[in-house]
């Protein structure tokens, strides 16, 4: 059996958490088998990873299941599992699962219960699972993903960014997510701001992984809808390598 690490990357919208998640994915997939999970309907992880088009999402499969389950013959859980396998995008160096649209009307208890079992069985075969999720940790609270080993919060220097980190910390406690937590600063412009985040981290029980700068190269790249693979050498990339080192010694040790 492989030893796996489920890493959730989260944070307030606009802090650059998806760019961070994408860069982490592209780095870790060289070290072992990796499943990337896009669990934030507002983000664009596939785009950041250079995936042109995602045809179907898990949300679509859930909807189909909700509406046709009555007509499914035989064992529903086996049918559902096959559909989950079908929506996984096999890319060259990793697999990608897009959670997709939020749930519609009606009861998803049974659907999510089946999904939990399927994902649990499925995820354990990867060396790394990286989940890009919104600050509400929806898929963890529904327990469709029922474990996380590390939670990395990406925050900018705004009060709101750190407030969100605090809230995530509380949420983890109430959901019983027993994971180590770390914080990465992003769009950090000066040493004072970096210090502020670092202070917050030690106060709130987060590991501080470092601060990434505001870099116009990143902004331009993102604006052009380009993958982080296309990001040229820049200050951000250099700093990211430092953060990564710290991350690896913290998370993968």
């Amino acid at each position: 059996m492989r030893s796996i690490a489920v890493i959730a990357v989260t944070g307030k919208g606009g802090t650059g958490k998806t760019i961070f998640a994408a860069m982490l994915i592209l780095h870790l997939c060289r070290k072992g088998s990796l499943l990337a999970v896009d669990a934030d309907p507002d983000s664009n992880l596939p785009e950041a990873l250079g995936v042109e088009e995602v045809e179907k999402t898990l949300g679509d499969v859930k909807e189909v299941f909700q509406h046709t389950r009555d007509e499914i013959r035989g064992d529903k859980s086996i049918w559902f599992e096959a559909k989950v396998f079908e929506v996984i995008n096999e890319l060259e160096d990793f697999d990608l699962l897009v959670m997709g649209r939020p749930e519609g009307e009606g009861c998803y208890c049974y659907t999510n219960n089946l999904l939990r079992g399927i994902l649990r069985k499925f995820m354990k075969h990867y060396d790394f699972v990286v989940v890009d999720c919104e600050a509400g940790l929806e898929h963890f609270s529904r327990k469709t993903i029922d474990r996380a080993d590390c939670v990395v919060v990406v925050s900018d220097t705004s009060k709101k960014g750190l407030k969100t980190a605090e809230r995530i910390s509380e949420l983890m406690k109430s959901l019983g997510i027993n994971a180590r937590k770390a914080i990465v600063g992003n769009k950090v412009t000066d040493a004072k701001a970096e210090e502020m985040i670092e202070n917050f981290a030690s106060r709130a029980g987060f590991e501080f992984l470092g601060a990434l700068p505001y870099d116009s190269m990143v902004v331009e790249n993102e604006m052009a809808g380009k993958s982080v693979r296309d990001l040229p050498e820049c200050e951000f990339k250099r700093k990211f390598k430092e953060v990564l080192k710290k991350f690896e010694s913290w998370c993968l040790s």
Partner: protein, 529 residues
């Protein structure tokens, strides 16, 4: 029943036969390999799947016909198939044992999925004619060269994990024509027969029901009882699903519920269900009648697809589904009623159900079944129209026939719905409601007399016309159309005209001496009230 017999292996096709047990496998076999994905790049071959025909089938045969641990492979073997491509594939297992009959076939067949996945480097997805198998390069590199090895491993697992299987024999096919022919001529008729058997299974045919307590997370006392005639009220879980889940995880949310003694065969009350419900609900629910609407109804969690509501005005039951935004004739919307009914409690007068319960032969049979149903949205009615007895299809109103209670009453009388004259429930022929169509008139007269008196007092001029208002009315009056006589000085009265034909040649309104006085008295009276 479709005859079960061994396949006739066609001549001129490559056939490989292997007999006897094998214990030496080149790859690891363990449940920890379940869920392993063989990626396209790591795949040696794909068998069946979206691009090629295929199926899996278990057939129960007499003991003397099954040659234990024999495998017949029809067509090319693994090391002869073109690498990187998808190929047709079928797996047929003959099983025999004292306890085995065709009812067990699907239960045994389901485990093929698990056992194939136990094999390192083998990915098995889906079921029946949708199977999709990938064999990994890693397995082939380790020495997995033959499909016969896979068959042998799976057969051993079958015999280990299902000891009631005394003999098992396998036929694996990669020959396209034979896969297609066998699917069409042998497998499909058996799958169809199974589906028909599922439809025909009733509460009395099984030993135990299954529970579902998934919804206790938000409806703490909720207990759902799932029977062949009553799927879960979220519509998701049938008795078969419950059974499958209970086998996989006996301590999970779906547990077996022994039926116990039958206390009410028509209402569907069982001592085992009552005991289970009492324990699991923490005493909130003590008795459940599975097929009753008005007495000890099944508790409702909040997940229901459809909610039923009793309307005393017509002594009938309406149904409304989640997607219907308008209010029902009782003036309430789905969400209002759902709010009152959810939470895992029994609420008499409301009942949450799954869409497929409409299909049940025991659908609220204690309360007259379809013969008690008076209203449902058109969209819902269309969905279930085939399950409505033919003689009732035109008698159940939709929002196009009736939006209000008045319109509903009108409609029911016009189509002569059973509730008007009294419902005879089909299950035992007992007349369970008295109806209101006839009684109406009697009460009606009384009512109109009473009203007439009041009117007399207020407006004596109208008196001669009153008896002409013959108004057959149903029992409850609160929602009838009202024709208020607004008289500034007179006593406030309501005159209800229903189905009235009034011919008035002339109305003369005169100012009389006593008018003012009367009016004042009326006001006083009103104030007192």
């Amino acid at each position: 029943m479709v005859e079960r017999k061994k396949l006739e292996i066609p001549e001129g096709v490559k056939v490989k036969v292997s007999q006897g047990e094998e214990y030496d496998f080149p790859v690891d076999i363990s449940p920890m390999h379940e869920g392993e994905r063989i990626r396209k790049g790591d795949m040696y071959v794909e068998l069946a799947g979206p691009k090629q025909p295929g199926f899996e089938l278990v057939m129960a045969l007499p003991e003397d016909q099954v040659e234990d641990m024999k495998v017949t492979l029809v067509g090319k073997d693994l090391d002869e198939l073109e690498e990187g491509k998808a190929h047709p594939f079928a797996m047929i297992y003959y099983v025999a044992g004292e306890k085995i009959d065709s009812d067990l076939e699907p239960i045994i067949e389901r485990r093929n999925h698990d056992f194939q996945n136990y094999i390192e480097g083998v990915m098995h997805l889906n079921q029946r004619y949708d199977i999709w198998i990938r064999i990994g390069k890693n397995a082939v590199e380790k020495g997995l060269k033959s499909l016969i090895t896979i068959a042998k491993a799976v057969m051993l697992l079958f015999k280990n994990e299902m000891p009631f299987i005394e003999k098992i024999e396998a036929v694996y096919i990669t020959d396209r024509d034979f896969v297609e022919k066998t699917l069409k001529e042998v497998a499909m008729p058996i799958f169809e027969e199974r589906d028909a058997r599922v439809e025909a299974l009733h509460d009395e045919d099984v030993e135990e029901f299954y529970s579902c307590t998934l919804c206790q997370s938000f409806a703490p006392p909720d207990v759902c009882i799932i029977t062949p005639d009553r799927p879960s009220l979220c519509g998701a879980i049938t008795w078969f699903d419950g059974r499958a889940a209970a086998r996989v995880d006996p301590e999970g949310p779906n547990k077996p519920v022994p039926k116990g003694e039958i206390l009410d065969p028509i209402g569907g009350e069982y001592s085992g269900v009552n005991e289970f419900a009492k324990t699991e609900s923490g005493g909130v629910t003590e008795r459940i009648k599975l097929h009753s609407f008005l007495e000890c109804p099944h508790p409702s969690c909040g997940c229901f697809e459809v909610i039923g509501f009793y309307m005393p005005e017509v002594d009938g039951i309406g149904w409304i589904h989640r997607g219907f935004p308008e209010p029902a004739p009782n003036g309430l919307t789905f969400s209002t009623m759902a709010g009152q009914t959810g939470g895992g409690k029994q609420v008499v007068g409301f009942l949450g159900i799954g869409m497929s319960y409409f299909r049940s032969k025991k659908f609220i049979q204690a309360d007259g079944g379809w013969y008690r149903v008076v209203w449902m949205p058109k969209e819902l009615k269309q969905k279930v129209i085939n399950y409505i007895p033919e003689d009732m299809r035109d008698k159940i109103a939709t929002e196009e026939d009736a939006k209000s209670m008045e319109e509903l009453i009108e409609f029911l009388k016009r189509v002569d719905h059973p509730v008007v004259k009294g419902v005879v429930r089909p299950v035992d022929g007992k007349k369970i409601t008295e109806g209101w169509g006839k009684e109406e008139e009697v009460e009606e007269e009384e009512e109109s007399e009473a009203e007439t008196e009041e009117v007399q007092e207020a407006q004596p001029q109208l008196q001669p016309q009153m008896p002409q208002m013959t108004m057959p009315m149903p029992v409850p009056f609160q929602q009838m159309p009202q024709l208020p006589f607004t008289m500034q000085s007179g006593p406030k009265i309501k005159l209800i005209l229903k189905n009235a034909t009034i011919n008035i040649d002339k109305i003369i309104i005169k100012k009389t001496d006593g008018e003012k006085k009367e009016g004042q008295e009326g006001k006083k009276e009103q104030n007192k009230r």
